[in-house]
């Protein structure tokens, strides 16, 4: 009558437990067995202590890759083979979507995540000018939705927690975005009943300002409304997926809009409808 004895509480299982890689049944069974096994709990604790924000650390390594040199090498290789490189420098690939596997969230993980994102910002969140150049974005020309979604894919709840929280700073950033875009952005206009406003950033894409207004959905999932000036003809809302994120995008009145987040399409479509009405 001791199910714990029959449960697999090997280090391997405990790692899978930490990584949330067990099926719900296995997970329940393991949690159960753990509650009756102090020795295994101690091992679990040790394995947890061996967790690090691996994903963020490896992302930083990706940022350090000598991109131009690699592309030059590839072009050279193609030329030597008598072929032309058909794809240019559009290859700044966002990391594959990761499961939360590096252990629980904590201040230092947030710091590491923020540090990685900081690489994308020339300035920093608190600087007055706060006109991030998002250099990886600016040096590519893969289309604004691709560039912006690649960037948004790096965002986590913790990233947004690093944004200015006081009302005055938020207003100032929002109004600065309105100014550079030439598009009125009032609190009412950017409000959405399904979303909790977090802040505004101005990025730059090929010399054009791009406003990213950030929100949290359900208190934890980052959602962004991105706006850029465009010469394109008006276009009704369309849904697409990039970098594992859902996107609803449309063009209206000389502006391209995009609502993006890791939330189901229908939900995102509902959210975008509010914005479409407010920007009509």
């Amino acid at each position: 009558m001791a199910p714990a004895d029959h449960s697999d509480l090997s280090d391997e299982t405990l790692v899978a437990f930490i990584d949330e890689a067990l099926s719900p049944t296995e997970r329940r069974r393991t949690a159960d067995a753990l509650s009756r096994n102090a020795e295994a709990r101690a091992r679990l604790e040790r394995l947890r202590r061996g967790g690090r924000p691996f994903g963020e650390a490896f992302d930083a390594l990706l940022q350090a890759a000598p991109e131009h040199r690699l592309h030059a090498m590839f072009a050279d290789l193609m030329a030597k083979r008598g072929e032309t490189a058909t794809v240019g420098f559009g290859g700044n690939v966002a990391p594959m979507r990761r499961r939360a596997r590096s252990g629980g969230s904590s201040a230092w993980q947030m710091a590491a995540a923020a540090a990685v994102v900081a690489l994308a910002f020339a300035g920093g969140l608190q600087t007055a000018g706060y006109f991030g150049t998002a250099r990886q974005i600016a040096e590519q020309k893969p289309g604004w939705r691709e560039a912006a979604s690649r960037y948004v894919a790096l965002f986590s709840k913790e990233t947004l927690e690093g944004m200015p929280r006081d009302q005055q700073a938020r207003q100032a950033n929002l109004q600065r975005a309105a100014q550079v875009l030439g598009l009125p952005l009032s609190d009412e206009r950017i409000a959405n009943p399904a979303l909790d406003f977090q802040g505004t950033q101005i990025l730059q894409l090929d010399g054009k300002p791009l406003a990213q207004i950030s929100y949290l959905f359900d208190g934890r999932t980052p959602v962004a409304l991105c706006i850029i000036r465009t010469a394109n003809a008006p276009q009704t809302a369309q849904i697409e997926e990039r970098h594992g994120l859902n996107i609803v995008h449309w063009v209206k009145g000389g502006y391209g809009f995009m609502v993006i987040g890791d939330i189901p399409g229908p939900e995102l479509e509902r959210i975008s409808r509010t914005f479409r009405a407010q920007f009509s």
Binding site: R48, L61, L70, F74, T86, V87, G90, V93, G103
Partner: protein
């Protein structure tokens, strides 16, 4: 900057499995199918270069070797594009090639310099993005990861860095899934010890 010339054997030295060689496969699949595959490979590689470099760096611990590995991988992939299965993930295919070049051709002749993949120089060569000092924590983590044995380091990278499932990592490494899991467990145990013995700069998790 010049890189050491590659010692990749030409195709002829390396007999392809029966029926999968370039000429045979090309003949069998027809020119249009071949062009399609070639195009997919040619277009699929550039977006992967940075990630391939990172994998090469994690394996070799040296940025020049990483560059060399990417170059050799691209060359091999372009030569063997008929072996790429359209519709499958080109990243996995390219990773497998890179790994095999590392294991079979470069690892043995490479003497680890000890510089490691988190040497400040790495940050400085990054096309001018030399602002790694905002990233001390990430660097510290990489330093710790680098101290892991190669098998554990690779498992940590593939699962926690690239987001592969245990199964996917196992398939790529050609080992049982349980081995991937025990390598992760061993890596975590070692990193926990680093933390416990104060041999680190990280704040508590």
């Amino acid at each position: 900057m010049a890189f050491p010339s590659l010692r990749i054997k030409p195709d002829g030295d390396r007999p392809a499995p029966a029926g999968r060689g370039t000429v045979a496969a090309r003949g069998a699949m027809g020119d249009s199918e071949f062009s399609l595959r070639r195009k997919e490979v040619q277009e699929g590689l550039p977006p992967l270069l940075k990630r391939l470099w990172r994998y090469g760096l994690v394996l070799s611990g040296d940025s020049d070797t990483a560059h060399e590995l990417v170059q050799a991988t691209c060359l091999r992939a372009l030569e063997k594009c008929d072996q790429f299965q359209p519709g499958t993930q080109i990243s996995r295919w390219a990773y497998t090639i890179l790994r095999s070049i590392w294991m079979n051709e470069l690892r043995s002749r490479r003497v680890r310099t000890g510089n490691g993949f988190v040497d400040p120089e790495i940050a400085l060569i990054a096309d001018g993005i030399g602002e790694m000092d905002t990233n001390l924590l990430a660097r510290q983590v990489l330093k710790e990861v680098e101290r892991l044995p190669e098998g554990q380091r690779e498992a940590v990278f593939l699962v926690y860095g690239e987001g592969l499932s245990y199964r996917e990592a196992a398939d790529m490494l050609g080992i049982p899934q349980g081995t991937v899991m025990s390598r992760l467990a061993a890596a975590r145990a070692k990193l926990a010890d680093l933390k416990d013995h104060g041999d680190h700069l990280l704040p508590a998790e």
